[in-house]
Symmetry: C2
């Protein structure tokens, strides 16, 4: 983390940004730099993040996760796709303007977070402490990538998230299964029972209140989703996964427009080679909820906790190891100047109008900037859905670099023509996003 | 393992045993030594094991697991109670006879296994290759300890065991829960559902055929079990565990006379610090079955596997990582000269007749020696039930050393008076044990 910050501080100064510094909020600080030489023009906060997901399981990587390795059109490494390449594209577009024209068409404030992958715990504090510095007309986010390499798309929303880790204890210590087996509760049996109760057999979340507040899908949302040329079978079979989930929705609706609950890690007892004849005394589970517009992530994750607590046997204990409310879903109105500017850029580059898509993943900064700074975010990243983010052998396509650089250079020029006040008019959906 | 073998080879020679050597069966070899200077007297195979359980979780130990540390009456260390102290007591009783009287009252064959804790995978091969060397009239096992420090007991049987490890796979790789969450099967959800299906809510095993073949409890078994002064509440509350299990049986019956199924380890997904927003693609579970007289451990563990396979969704795969049949339950008839000799020793030492108890744990060698060598085993270990075997902070009571040495010296003298043919008469139950 320290090395990444040092690299960025140096690079931001090198390309000609001012006020380059760390913004501290009590956790991993953000990296900041600005170029404010376009008076009267819009000011864009360029968002990216320099933190990455853990690299394990290390044994599944074919190349060292923290060494960039080029193979064909791919650059392998943890964080290449999520989201260092897209962040670099944004910075280098600004660098190119400053190097070639000695000026940018808009004012730029670069803001690179260090806690995106851990739920942005100190982002609120950073914005509270440095809110004046961060004032802008809109956010351009390098996070939130393309849905397709061939079809131009604009992200107009993202699911929110919330996180829970629990520990179930059934005894003071692990017990010899020959001495106690058949006589006592087994923490793994009980945890399995709790986890199994979270969904029904068909994949519907069985937690009361989990879907509460979720806005019903509108006709236009369903039409937009259906218009995205989406080979459902290929999407799942390319990763060997089975389509499985809530009844009454297409797969693409389930993963972008509906709440979801996943156990991300589960463990207890002896997990090494061979066997160990114990009755394990404790078990752990990590889980995350994805929430949609209209839902409060805190309410949703507390509903999950309440479900687990009500089902935990009275003679076991269930402790909360971690509970993070994360962030609510975000929504950007299609009439917003950010969407329209991106639309005209993509129309010019791709020869056809982009379609509107929504992200199943969460970009907490989006909702937080709307709430605290009152500004909307356009996601304009160039990573693609198959690049194994959050998994071993993450990569970024080298061919996306040209597309990304052209897109960002054009986007900044196009946004320069937008009157500043239009960014703050706000659409119905955009305003509403700040309240969920 | 190598150091333990070297230590034992040296010590066996030192105390005056002959033919000291390793007996190889393709795995960890056994250590052997003999003293055959009592012609016409019974030959006793003294069994112990020098392997131990894994020491983890290491962070739960208060002293280094592989350094013996004396604190009060306790000697802490992995393997102290299971079963190095009791093995040492047996060896030192022989050593004392040879040192003081230059002779033992019986012929002795010491056989120290190196694979007891891993299910004795090569024990059968060792016995097959070295069966002539191992011919004896009976086995005295240092494994299988005392049930109580104050009440004299004789073990007349032990549960058998079998082991299974499975891997469930739901996709080719871990998937981003933002991109796939709500759309696909999650290996942890499915594994939790499988594990939860193994028992009903009350703790009864729900696997069809799991209890098949188990002999109904006899009136004398239930009476013996009830006569053992057993504070059920203290037994469970001392380890913070809740009594939980099969309906219709007392807790002590459940853990010594009835089959049991425990998941010993369960894991999948991200288990490190913080969170990782993935849909895990695989999950693992290790489990062991305890079986009783009348049951075939292979049939029992295959019933468990069949249960899991029949419930695994068709679009996931369930692979067997390991399946070990282990060993059947063992039974020793109360009229057997081994039981009667031990009875008279304990009567003399403790001032009252011992009661007969059975072990919930498994001592695979017992059934194997009966089957291959046709001889019965008396368990005469001196560890106690609360010594945290298979758990952190395992210890052995130093005060048990005196009791053990006196017991073994007397036992060898008493057995020397038994006509050799009486060892081979066999009881109904003992003969039956070789067939289950």
């Amino acid at each position: 983390m320290e090395a990444a910050r040092e690299f960025l501080l140096k690079r931001l100064r090198q390309i000609g940004l001012h006020e380059v510094r760390l913004l501290d909020g009590g956790g991993e600080p953000a990296v900041y730099g600005e170029w404010m030489g376009a008076p009267g023009k819009p000011t864009l906060l360029v968002y990216g993040h320099y933190d990455v997901q853990p690299a394990d399981p290390l044994e599944r990587w074919h190349t060292p996760p923290f060494e960039p390795v080029e193979i064909g059109d791919r650059l392998y490494g943890r964080g290449t796709s999520d989201v260092k390449a897209s962040t670099t594209i944004a910075l280098e577009a600004v660098a190119a303007y400053l190097a070639v024209e000695a000026a940018c068409p808009v004012n730029i404030k670069v803001f690179l977070e260090g806690e995106e992958e851990t739920g942005s715990p100190s982002l609120r504090a950073i914005v509270a402490r440095h809110g004046t510095l961060l004032q802008a007309d809109a956010v351009l986010s390098a996070d939130g990538g393309r849905a397709s390499a061939t079809l131009p798309t604009i992200n107009v929303g993202a699911r929110g998230n919330a996180q829970l880790e629990v520990r179930l204890q059934s005894a003071h210590k692990d017990l010899h299964s020959g001495r106690y087996g058949g006589g006592v509760r087994n923490a793994l049996h009980e945890m399995a029972r709790l986890v199994a109760s979270l969904h029904d057999q068909d994949g519907n979340v069985a937690v009361k209140g989990f879907n509460a507040g979720a806005e019903p899908l509108s006709a236009s949302q369903r039409a937009d989703t259906a218009s995205f040329a989406y080979d459902e079978q290929a999407f799942f079979s390319s990763v060997g996964a089975a389509s499985h989930g809530e009844a009454g929705y297409t797969a693409r609706e389930r993963i972008t427009l509906r709440p979801a609950l996943d156990v991300n890690g589960l463990w207890g007892g002896y997990t090494g080679p061979g066997g160990k004849t114990i009755v394990p005394c404790e078990a752990f589970a990590k889980m995350t909820a994805r929430v949609v517009a209209g839902q409060d992530p805190g309410d949703v994750i507390r509903a999950v906790l309440g479900h687990l607590r009500s089902r935990c046997p009275a003679d076991c204990t269930l402790d909360v190891v971690a509970l993070h409310e994360g962030s609510p879903a975000s929504t950007l109105d299609p009439s917003h100047p950010l969407v329209q500017s991106a639309g005209s850029v993509l129309q010019r580059e791709c020869g056809r109008a982009p379609i509107h898509v929504r992200l199943g993943a969460s970009v907490p900064v989006t909702a937080l900037f709307k709430e605290t700074l009152g500004i909307d975010t356009l996601m304009f990243g160039f990573n693609l859905p198959d690049e194994d983010v959050h998994a071993p052998n993450e990569f970024f396509r080298l061919s996306s670099i040209d597309a990304g650089l052209r897109g960002w250079v054009l986007l900044l020029a196009t946004l320069a023509e937008q009157p500043r006040e239009r960014f703050h008019a706000g659409g119905r959906a955009a305003a509403k996003a700040s309240q969920v």
